[in-house]
Symmetry: C2
Subunit: 135 residues, 2 copies
């Protein structure tokens, strides 16, 4: 699947990962490691990440990357994980991240949708002067 960076500012993959390994989905360290590895595999530059385990089960987390972000929410009790990979530019391929994560979570049933964010034909350049240092 080719992505045309001239068409929009950002690219977002929404992945619905069914029939995953519930033990992996409930292990906050494993989920964070899988997400960071997924970012790196796609050639993204990781800025930071924040992950939380919820009681009694489930993990939420975000990896902030130079090229936007990756987010995950897991429901171990349903073997389900919902992931978003939002990237900018053409140096990062979020599909690589999604494939990596599908393997890490051992998903047997996955759906993916792709969206263009910031349609260039709708963008209007405002009268905007860059100030240093940034406000």
């Amino acid at each position: 699947m080719e992505f045309d960076v001239t068409e929009s500012l950002g690219r977002q993959l929404i992945g619905e990962l069914y029939e995953c390994d519930p033990l992996v989905l409930n292990d906050v360290a494993a989920v964070e490691q899988a997400m960071v590895e997924a970012a790196v595999a796609a050639n993204a530059t990781v800025i930071n990440s924040t992950f939380h385990h919820f009681s009694p089960y489930g993990v939420s987390g975000v990896v902030v990357i130079q090229e936007s972000h990756l987010a995950v929410h897991t429901w171990p009790e349903y073997g389900f994980a919902s992931v978003d990979f939002f990237t900018c530019g053409d140096s990062v391929d979020p599909m690589v991240s999604l494939k990596h994560l599908t393997q890490s979570f051992k998903s047997n049933d996955m759906f993916v949708s792709e969206f263009h964010r910031g349609q260039r034909e709708l963008l209007v350049k405002p009268d905007f002067e860059v100030k240093f240092p940034p406000m």
Copy 2:
């Protein structure tokens, strides 16, 4: 717009905010404050947030909430902001967050799409035993 929590585990609003105030979009403190306020306005419980200003301009940030997450990426040079509000349960209304943010960013042109995440008809309950403390 009514959301049926019996249909899916999560609800996601994707907002494309065009013709925003570029000075607000380039002010990392203002963007973070607007996002946290948007979360609180929707009755969400904020866990933490992480925001970054990019050189020469633009802000990326995520607010992790008990009910999932809010994410934003801004392009001040185009007066454009891309936002995602992902929520679980029926105690939080992401549409309230989106309206709040639209006002904070002074957007004059906004598109919103809504997605159900984790379709209940596709979920399979695995053989999963909860362990304490969580792994």
